[in-house]
Amino acid sequence: MSVQRSSSRLNRSRRIQVRHVPWLIAIPGIVLMLGLRFLPAVFSAGYAFTDWNGLSPRASSVGLDNFAQIFSPSGALGSLGNTLVLAAILLVVSNAAGLGLALLLRKGLKARNLLRAMFFIPFALSHLATGYIWQFIFSYKGPLNQILDSLGLSSWKHTWTGDPKWALYTIALVICWQYTGLTMIIYLAGLEGIPEELDDAVAVDGASKWMKFRRVTLPLLAPAVTVACTLTLIWGLGAFDQVIALTGGGPAGATETLATLVWKNTFLYGKYGYGSALALVLALIVTCLAVLQMTLLRSREEQL
């Protein structure tokens, strides 16, 4: 009896040990992840309630002043608007274009593999470097205006990145160009997952191309739509490299985004506290919108 009990206790302790093994393996990774990624962010969030300048040994608490300033007329509302506009354009354009390209390059075309690679390359290149190339293209004596000249459209010429009316849209164009390659790859992968015999079934059932797309292809792409939309939304809200390269936030703040504002306040203007508050607001916006969007899109997926 006692032998039996002790052996069962032994078994239980061994079971517990076995159950702990995955955790033991994961702990170093979790610690590193928390230590290097989340803790600095949390500590930094603490500075959002101070007027620390990033250098002085002391920081005094200012309560919610930094946040009040962000949402004041002279604050960051313009940048917030720019950020949302960029994110919205990227979300709509890169997903529509990526899906369109994926449908075109799915099969049939002989050069499809080459074209797929070509459309993907912008995403793979350094965003800052290609940003500077685009800045050259958009400059007053750049290729774009030269082309307009040669077409006899000189009246259309602009200093694209220097004109407050156009600057934000030139940035939007560049980030769409950059991310469409990636959404295309995501949608291509999604299309690969749709069984080929469904194509045959649709053909025999006599559905039009539009009905096929709306009733069969698009619903079955729902998981890919969730992934692509969530990623583009997050990237759009965090747009930074392209803005810095093309306009640096100008002219006169016309293309300032929350991300560029965070960087400028924190590292250029010596307003670490205010920068932290901006970063916190940006993080909250990204989290809320991404979670909201994913919840909406996931509910469509569940109908599968």
Partner: protein
């Protein structure tokens, strides 16, 4: 009409050409009097049932069945009444709100049938619709599809590699090999009068027995010469095949079905053989007998053998090397022969088949 043949023989391709899913290089396809060569699959008024059902996974069963109607802009009330009628016919009424993934294989199969039936098309095209079901369900669905087809009276082209399905379901069957139609006709006719050695070997289970023999002729008539024995051919066999005279002193292939061989002396010309194996199947026994002779080993024979099972082909080659042939005799279950017994087997002469060894064609007129 059932298309049957070993895998890769082109039966599915032929069906897909009829459906319009595959381009054709020459010839015409007609539905009724209308040539449909260049017409889109959806406009051909034919419905297809696919091997993997090809149901739309995100739609309810109702929507799956309704899809072809919606593609034709049928009115809502009409869609509802037709889908409900079809579902009732197939016993799917209680599943209409479910998704395909929650259904069993047999139920999904019925949904695929429903999607075809609801259109009331001119023809059904079925591509191995039962191959994903287990054996028991397959038998059940086989008769359900047959009954349904009879009740609806719609022309159906049915593709299968299973000759039992072909024999039981087809009004006519077409046997294909390597993209070429070998023979077509009512199942019984194809079984009894195979046009060539491939059809003879492919149709029937257990398959037809074959052995090579030299045709001899003397003053009293024709005979088949085997190592150490001969089999005299009856006058009826000879007179039914005028072309036989050209084969004198040449080798040809003799074929005989297991049920056309009788054990023991029954009066007619017979062959001596040794019993090598007995399989008791309850209602009947299969007696395997071995005799000296040359097995028929041609591409057609090997292909037909591989379709039964992979080892059958190697057994065939092995026997050919050892210069012996195993024949299967279908007999009453209460036979008293033992393994090792010497027996006489008597072929029913009017059911004997003779084939040209080179072309494989049946020797007839």
């Amino acid at each position: 009409m059932v298309f049957v043949g070993p895998s890769g023989c082109g039966k599915t391709t032929a069906l897909r050409m009829v459906a319009g899913l595959e381009d054709i290089t020459e010839g015409t396809i007609r539905v009724g009097d209308k040539i449909v060569n260049g017409i889109d699959p959806g406009e051909r008024d034919m419905a297809m049932v696919f091997q993997n059902y090809a149901l739309y996974p995100h739609m309810s069963i109702f929507e799956n069945i309704a899809f072809p109607l919606r593609a034709r802009h049928t009115s809502k009330s009409e869609v509802r009444s037709r889908v409900e009628r079809t579902a009732a016919l197939l016993g799917l009424t209680e599943y209409l709100k479910r998704k395909p993934r929650t259904l069993s294989g047999g139920q999904r199969q019925r949904v695929a049938m429903g999607r075809a039936i609801v259109r009331e098309p001119q023809a059904f095209l079925m591509d191995e619709p039962l191959s994903n079901l287990d054996a028991k369900l397959r038998v059940q669905m086989r008769s359900e599809i047959s009954n349904l087809q009879r009740d609806l009276g719609v022309t159906t082209i049915y593709v299968t590699h299973d000759q039992v399905e072909a024999m039981t379901m087809g009004t006519r069957i077409a046997i294909m090999r390597k993209g070429v139609l070998q023979q077509q006709g009512p199942p019984q006719q194809v079984y009894a009068e195979p046009a060539n050695i491939f059809v003879a070997a492919f149709i029937g289970s257990p398959g037809m027995n074959f052995l090579q023999a030299t045709l001899g002729r003397d003053e009293s008539g024709f005979e088949l010469r085997l190592p150490g024995q001969t089999l005299r051919l009856s006058d009826a066999v000879v007179s039914a095949r005028p072309a036989l005279a050209a084969y004198v002193d040449r080798e040809l292939a003799m074929g005989i079905r297991p049920e056309s061989l009788a054990l023991g002396p029954t009066g007619g010309p017979s062959l001596r053989a040794t019993v090598s194996r007995i399989e008791v199947l309850g209602a009947e026994s299969l007696i395997y007998v071995t005799l000296a002779g040359q097995a028929v080993v041609s591409d057609e024979m090997i292909e037909a053998a591989v379709d039964v099972d992979a080892t059958a082909a190697s057994t065939l080659k092995q026997e050919a090397e050892q210069c012996q042939v195993t024949l299967i005799v279908r007999s009453e279950p209460d036979t008293d022969v033992r393994v090792g017994d010497q027996v006489n087997i008597t072929p029913i002469q009017h059911r004997l088949h003779l084939f040209d060894l080179e072309s494989g064609a049946a020797v007839t007129s």
